[in-house]
Homo-oligomer: 351 residues x 2
Amino acid sequence: MAMRKLSLEGPATLRDVARVAGVHPGTVSRALNPQTRGLVNERTARRVLEAAQELGYRPNPIARGLRTNRSNTIGVLVPDLMNPLFAAVVRGIEDGLREAGYTPLIANTDNDAEREQVAYEAMNARQVDGFIAATARRDHWLLADDARTGVKLVLVNRRVDSDALPAVTGDDHEGIRLAVEHLVRLGHRRIAHVAGSQSLYTGWSRHQGFLDAMRSEGLEADPDLIVYSQGFTVREGGRCCGELLERGREFTAVVAGNDLLALGCYDALEQRGLRCPEDVSVVGYNDMPFVDRFRPPLTTVRVPHYELGATAAALMLEQLRGRDLPPRQLLLAPELVVRGSTASRSQHVVP
Amino acid sequence: MAMRKLSLEGPATLRDVARVAGVHPGTVSRALNPQTRGLVNERTARRVLEAAQELGYRPNPIARGLRTNRSNTIGVLVPDLMNPLFAAVVRGIEDGLREAGYTPLIANTDNDAEREQVAYEAMNARQVDGFIAATARRDHWLLADDARTGVKLVLVNRRVDSDALPAVTGDDHEGIRLAVEHLVRLGHRRIAHVAGSQSLYTGWSRHQGFLDAMRSEGLEADPDLIVYSQGFTVREGGRCCGELLERGREFTAVVAGNDLLALGCYDALEQRGLRCPEDVSVVGYNDMPFVDRFRPPLTTVRVPHYELGATAAALMLEQLRGRDLPPRQLLLAPELVVRGSTASRSQHVVP
DNA sequence: GAGGATTATGCACACGATTGCACCGTCTGG
DNA sequence: CCAGACGGTGCAATCGTGTGCATAATCCTC
């Protein structure tokens, strides 16, 4: 007993609207799609619209996606949502996409290559129209994936050397320069750097920024005053700052690769009976929530993470609409936030 | 010129696999689906599997979803991802769903009814198999939505009075009891409460817990020592604690509805020259990241947010698999974390 | 007024996977 | 030796939408 399903419960379909409006489903499709509205008589379109309204018709994205190979969905690859920094980026992305009717599909990767791979495949299978990658690793299989058939890719909080991909990042170079300049004005000359992992983009770029900033201030970037952490964690910050102190080279300030590393510096200093900022000034990076509540309140470089995400979303929409625009690479301006962890140089560290 | 697409680039389809294996697409479908594998000859199934392997066949979830009305996708409604608390919950949900092959679809609602509505509709259109709602409002249209056709609903970090819905929450009653007990043991008798918004579940339940805890400690919960905030923010905490102080009633400790309110209490106390914990002890709730770094380090009640999310995911999977199991309501045990913001009662506040 | 251009709509298939039903061959029991 | 059971596979419809093509209707022009 084959019988056409007709308003038998469930959401209204194109056919239901067609019956009510007294036209063919194809016509309904055209009438409802702004793109093709012009093809259908205005009076008919009006009738269709009313019928759709009356039935509370909602187009089925699944069916549409099957037909069009698009899903109005953007895959978002992020290391870890529990990191407030990335939470802000994701929030910016979501808000930026929403107005255009796109929905983010979010996956945490923990910067693990296999999980990235799996998430990428899964999202591709779900016909995402593009990817926004906030994963921080510098080398990346995604970048080498030539077989990407039409899926767009936008980087956020990281970029590649080749300028081949649209990207939006904070201006680490400028941010670190602000930090170093601030310290120099306070009288510091021997400035150390606890660098983030050099395999992560932000770790690498801030390190480069540090070298350049020191040079342009006419200071020597003593290799003995630079130590490389294995990851952006408090523990690593503590270890690195400890190593710095044990090397016995004089320094009065330290620029940390991010706020967590800076926090680790607090610990290392306190453990050795040194005071911040009286003995050593510390500057962080990112301006995470609540760093103004630390002891002492952390001087740091604010990165507009939410805007980073929102801008990445805009870049993605641009890519989706425009036909093969040249990939733009944007830098967002950072801002130095001076708090209590930096002070005028008053005494040297005598290890 | 209608021509069957055959391995013309693009991902392999069922038909491609069928051709290679020399069988009908329907047979391939049955062979690849563990559910229906038994219907097909073992030798044939083997051949199909090999062909699929060779072609790198990936089932298309969109097409499958169209046919089956399922998407292996769970809608997650959360107030704000930038709140580390919810970030942890979401992370737990994602990890909990992943092993079962489900993907979360996340939307921030800011506890705004309209945005919730919109997100709900959009997700429904995308055929989500269920919803996990972490939105905190006590009254909720979702709960009254009888028309939910087969979509499952699980609450996290909130519940309803009726026991009609599966839910997993922290045991606020016990958590507040731990806090009050701790303060009483330190000698405090006059204990104030800066309550969260009573329209949010957590605000309400912790307030109830406070009343019960005081009673069971044999203490009077003086109405003048309870003030209700409009939201879980630092600013509101400051306002409420200020009001408390201005009322002129003696108290030596305050239990805050969450860590942000507690932080506001810090501010209000400092502004009036009172010290924490020497003059007034403060207890928070949630154990947000870095509250151990505050000045003073915050004594608070730790809620296992990640586990909350993971458990919610498990509950959802249970609902999806099982046929109409009774909705279970789970409580996860909190833990008191004693730090520097609470001390023995030494002196009274003399406003 | 005829023929071509334009407009508006119907028709039917495609997207890729699932699934009820039919069919065919073989085995078994009486 | 035959009927019926059963295991295995093909067939075709279906999910809801989009779209190329055909066709009918209308208009314009010489």
